[in-house]
Amino acid sequence: MSSSPRTIIVTGGSRGLGAGIVQSFLDSGDRVASCSRSTTPQVKEWESDPAYADRFLFIEADIADRDQSTAFVQAVVDKWGTIDVLVNNAGVARDGILALFSDEDSDTVIDLNLKATIHITKRVVRNMLSHGGGSIVNISSIVGLTGYRGLTVYSATKAALDGFTRSLARELGSRKITVNSVASGYLKTEMSHGLDDAQLNQIVRRTPAGRLGEPDDIARAIQFLVDERNNWLTGQVLVVDGGLTC
């Protein structure tokens, strides 16, 4: 349990990995705000749970829309004043070889994974600069490091996020703001990027840990990165993949 509740924003927290991250911060006693394009049964469960009364805020918002993204951040600031942690989790994957990839799919992936992340980070950084500190974690992917056939655009956005992490860490280090990436391996969530069972079984066979990841594997790494005691750790890409890329 944290000594005093922090205010955490987790984008795309209504399902899958994002929901696991939200749950982790609710469990650590923090105030958690999240958004996604639609409400899910998991969100309704959190909203109705008295244990999270006044500690959970969900707003339906498409952060690829800058006005909605700005309004979401403003709603969090209006409710809790300051933002201590931003977890940029919202993302979308579209698979297909590049030569047949539609321009619309390229735009969708880049608009959400990259442009929306940059915009919401800018809004949150202004709050962190104003109150003097914070932590940002960008959810990246091992495919941004290794590449993956059929995920060219997705992997490009994740590699770009890692570059964003490093530059922003350099910009903000003197203001007690840390910025890191978590390069996630393959998880047992619906975001396994359209991989079929044969592909997933092959990944498991090649993974030293012998299993796919759980959202909590990633959430624990994020908790480590945003722990105030670890504020000398910034500008890094932490690979959490069961050893697949080692």
Binding site: R126, N127, L129, S130, G132, E171, L172, S174, R175
Partner: protein
């Protein structure tokens, strides 16, 4: 001195104190960058964010690049910014 002037001067003085420049005297004529208050780009971003917190808008985000404290005050005085909170 009106409320806007007082708030802007206080915000800048607090920012300078945070940046270990507390000996610098701030007046309406103070130049923000260079030989004046010597704010660097990150300190300017901090000033922009704090002014937005205080007034609901700020001249830097509005695309203006005020050169003196008086020009910041004028942005709010001209009614382009929101009322002081």
């Amino acid at each position: 001195m009106n409320d806007v002037q007082t708030t802007v001067l206080t915000v800048i003085e607090q920012l300078l104190e945070r940046s270990d420049k507390s000996g610098v005297v701030v007046t309406l004529d103070s130049v923000i960058h260079g030989d004046g208050l010597s704010l660097d780009s990150l300190e300017t971003a901090e000033l922009s964010a704090i002014l937005e917190d205080e007034f609901g808008s700020d001249p830097f985000a509005a695309g203006l690049m005020p050169e003196t404290v008086a020009e910041i005050v004028a942005f709010y005085g001209a009614g382009e910014g929101a009322a002081a909170s």
